[in-house]
């Protein structure tokens, strides 16, 4: 059996990748992809804790992971619509060039 720590470490690695991508990228779509990675890392943790926890009859871990997936779908739909709307009016998807409010 694989120890629980292995899953948690993998999730931590994916989360860190996502964190780096979300903060260091200029392209809005790349940022969205990084956020997806972070959400996936969280889901791995939830499922791993359910699988290794003392009470496996309680499916809260899996249920929560499914809710996270649903919210991620909504987030991507709205996020990409925003990106396309911005691209249409400003002709850019680079977040640091969208500075209309800076005057």
């Amino acid at each position: 059996m694989v120890p629980l720590q292995a899953y948690l470490t993998l999730a931590a690695f994916i989360f860190s990748c996502g964190l780096y991508g979300a903060l260091a990228r200029r392209n809005a779509i790349a940022m969205l992809m990084a956020v997806e990675l972070m959400l996936n890392a969280v889901n791995i943790n939830l499922v791993a804790f359910w699988r290794y926890g003392p009470n496996r009859e309680d499916l809260a871990g899996q249920t929560f992971a499914i809710f996270v997936i649903a919210v991620a779908a909504a987030e991507v739909a709205v996020g990409l619509a925003l990106v396309i709307a911005i691209y249409r009016s400003r002709k850019t998807v680079y977040l640091d060039e969208i500075d209309l409010l800076q005057g």
Partner: protein, 178 residues
Amino acid sequence: MPELPVEIPIPTPHQAVFIMVAVATGVASLLVVTNRNLFYSALCLVGALFGVAGVYVLLEAEFLAITQVLVYVGAIATLITFAIMLTRGIMFGVTSPNNRYMFAVMAMALLVFLLVAGVVDRVPWAVAEDLTLSGDGKSMIVDLGWEFVTTYALPLELIGLLLLIALVGAVMLARDDE
């Protein structure tokens, strides 16, 4: 023949599969955030999402693994690729540059990883003694369904509402005004 100082553990098939899946997922997710070409990033994202589905299979959450493929690979990754094509970041060269905080953020992300990995190793997790799953996978899917319509009925309704609002909002945002 001299004794080896440390006994090298031979991985069981389950562990070997986990190592392969974990390495593939990790490399793919690293490539997602480091690749300079946005389209390749999206392809790597598909790989990483498949890897996560593989991890769910190893954790014996079949339903979740299939849901992951259905929603993430089938819908979200396709949508992202679609958006990349619509926003026309030309397909060659650097289409996904980094901003000026890149190195500071890299150090921070590394720190976060080391911190979490260190903590994970030291916490005495309350892992169950007996790790076999009771019942077959089908009863688990049935239980999951029951959970959704009993304990989590209100969250389920709210998620439905959220998805509806997101759908309408996305259409409103992305449609042409003319």
